[in-house]
């Protein structure tokens, strides 16, 4: 699996973006990375996929140090994929099919295999009907799904999703959540960064809290969101289920369905 060991990353102008970060993806199946804007989430992701090279410390993949040679990186990225926040910046073709096929063709896969994978990926994100539409006619949510499909097609073991629900309406958010659950069901590991604490709380099982490039805290979802100082340190809010627990003394539930199911017990 993938992890960082004392990862420090400085920009060219010496500002520290990440400092002694230890993140281990083994710890959860859907891992949440939370922190305010500019806390270093995206920089961390870029270190994980070998786009940025750590200034100090390292990234380990299956126990081995990641090597920054072209060949090694190609292999790494067959195992580790990333979907960036803005779909417009990762879609290069105006034909949806060609765009989802892009990475596969770069790997030199046979056209038959490419086709199978493209359709599978489009099916997973429920976008099979978009195949023949030009990208510039797609809505933001549709583009987002196409961007996710391009990475799914690679069939990586790990997928990083940077703000997968930013700018989407509640219905689209649900669709993305379904896709994430589907990816997990296929046995892949998912890492999500998001500002939506309710979303993170409901789907992640392990959380890292980041601020100013430092990991302020980590832990299983329910535990970490109970630690006020850590959240405050990162200017974050608790999910509403946690706030209810804190303010009203009712038990902490992972989902609202759980709360509803146990409501009678609470009332008594």
């Amino acid at each position: 699996m993938l992890k960082t060991v004392n990862l420090t990353y400085k920009y060219e102008d010496k500002t520290v973006a990440l400092k002694d970060v230890n993140v281990d993806l083994k710890k959860g199946e859907i891992i949440g990375i939370v922190g305010p804007n500019g806390s270093g989430k995206t920089t961390l992701f870029l270190n994980f996929v070998g786009i940025l090279i750590p200034t100090k410390g390292e990234v380990l993949f299956n126990g081995q140090k990641v090597k920054y040679r072209k060949k090694y990186l190609i292999e790494l990225r067959r195992k580790v994929g990333i979907v960036f926040q803005d779909p417009e910046k990762q879609i290069f073709y105006s034909r949806v099919y060609d765009d989802v096929a892009f990475a596969l063709r770069n790997l030199g896969l046979e056209e038959k295999e490419v086709e199978k994978r493209v359709y599978n990926a489009l099916k997973t994100v429920k976008a099979l009907d978009l195949e023949n539409k030009p990208v510039h006619f797609l809505s933001y949510g549709q583009k987002k799904r196409v961007a996710i499909a391009s990475v799914l097609a690679l069939d990586t073991e790990v997928i990083f999703l940077d703000e997968p629900t930013a700018g989407l309406d509640p219905y689209m958010v649900d669709i993305i959540v379904d896709i994430i659950k589907e990816i997990k069901r296929k046995g892949k590991r998912v890492v999500i960064s998001s500002h939506n604490m309710d979303l993170i709380y409901s789907i992640c099982d392990y959380i890292y809290v980041l601020n100013n490039g430092i990991v302020l805290g980590e832990g299983r979802t329910k535990e970490i969101f109970l630690q006020d100082e850590i959240l405050k340190g990162a200017n974050l809010k608790q999910p509403w289920l946690v706030r209810l627990h804190k303010n009203l003394g009712i038990p902490l539930y992972k989902s609202e369905e759980e709360l509803y199911a146990n409501w009678n017990k609470i009332k008594l």
Partner: protein, 226 residues
């Protein structure tokens, strides 16, 4: 946003094989360009208009609207061809004296202008047929068939994608400026349009940096496959 592009994807002839359409277009264009026959030109104009409006179902209003741009050009551009200047009045079939010379229309220029007008309008309607019924993505497929160099096609593919991103950005910046009175008079209009372009340029370059990362992640190795 680009109305021609929009209809290229939703017209009723979209599904016709693009190669067939391109061949048909080239033949029509060649006939329109090389012939000198009024009937042939009229025939082409009528045939293309029927194909566009009746068969492909492009709304007549839209068709006429996009036709007005070249028509205006044609009308005004033809003045220079139509009128001549001479000191001898007898060369003209119609003329007016201005100070010491005559401005007028000769029989040849009248004929030339008319022929020019007809040739233009028949090639224009031919081109309109192609661009209103064939999406760029299909044309790119044809370019591949005729084995145009890859780099050429790849840059066309990418440019086509970027045009829409930048147009949208441009429009949004323009609207924001307009709402803040950026275009109320000549001087501030010029300043605003300049800052729009500068702003767009900065964004474009930033986007390039970000897209390079996306390219690398996707394992780009120097070729945009299709």
């Amino acid at each position: 946003m680009l109305i021609i592009d929009k209809y290229a994807y939703i017209n009723k002839l979209k599904e016709v094989n693009p190669f067939t359409k391109v061949i048909f277009y080239i033949v029509a264009l060649a006939v329109a360009l090389f012939s000198n026959n009024l009937y042939i030109w009229t025939g082409i104009v009528i045939a293309m208009s029927i194909l566009i409006v009746v068969i492909a179902r492009i709304p007549l209003t839209i068709y006429l609207k996009i036709l007005t741009v070249p028509l205006l050009f044609l009308v005004f551009g033809s003045f220079a061809v139509l009128f001549s200047i001479d000191i001898d009045k007898n060369n003209f079939i119609f003329s007016l004296k201005v100070i010491n010379f005559y401005i007028g229309i000769t029989e040849i220029s009248l004929n030339n202008t008319f022929m020019l007008f007809m040739r233009s309008i028949s090639t224009i309607t031919s081109t309109f047929f192609l661009i209103l019924t064939t999406p760029i993505n299909d044309l790119i497929y044809v370019l591949k068939l005729i084995r145009l160099p890859d780099i050429f096609i790849e840059i066309i593919v990418l440019t086509y994608r970027f045009i829409f991103i930048f147009l949208k950005e441009c429009k949004e910046i323009y609207t924001a400026q307009q709402l803040r009175f950026g275009y109320v008079e000549f001087k501030n209009s010029l300043n605003s349009i300049s800052s729009l372009v500068a702003c767009l340029f900065i964004r474009v370059m930033k986007r390039y940096e970000e897209m390079k990362i996306a390219l690398e992640v996707k394992g780009y190795n120097g070729k945009f496959h299709m």
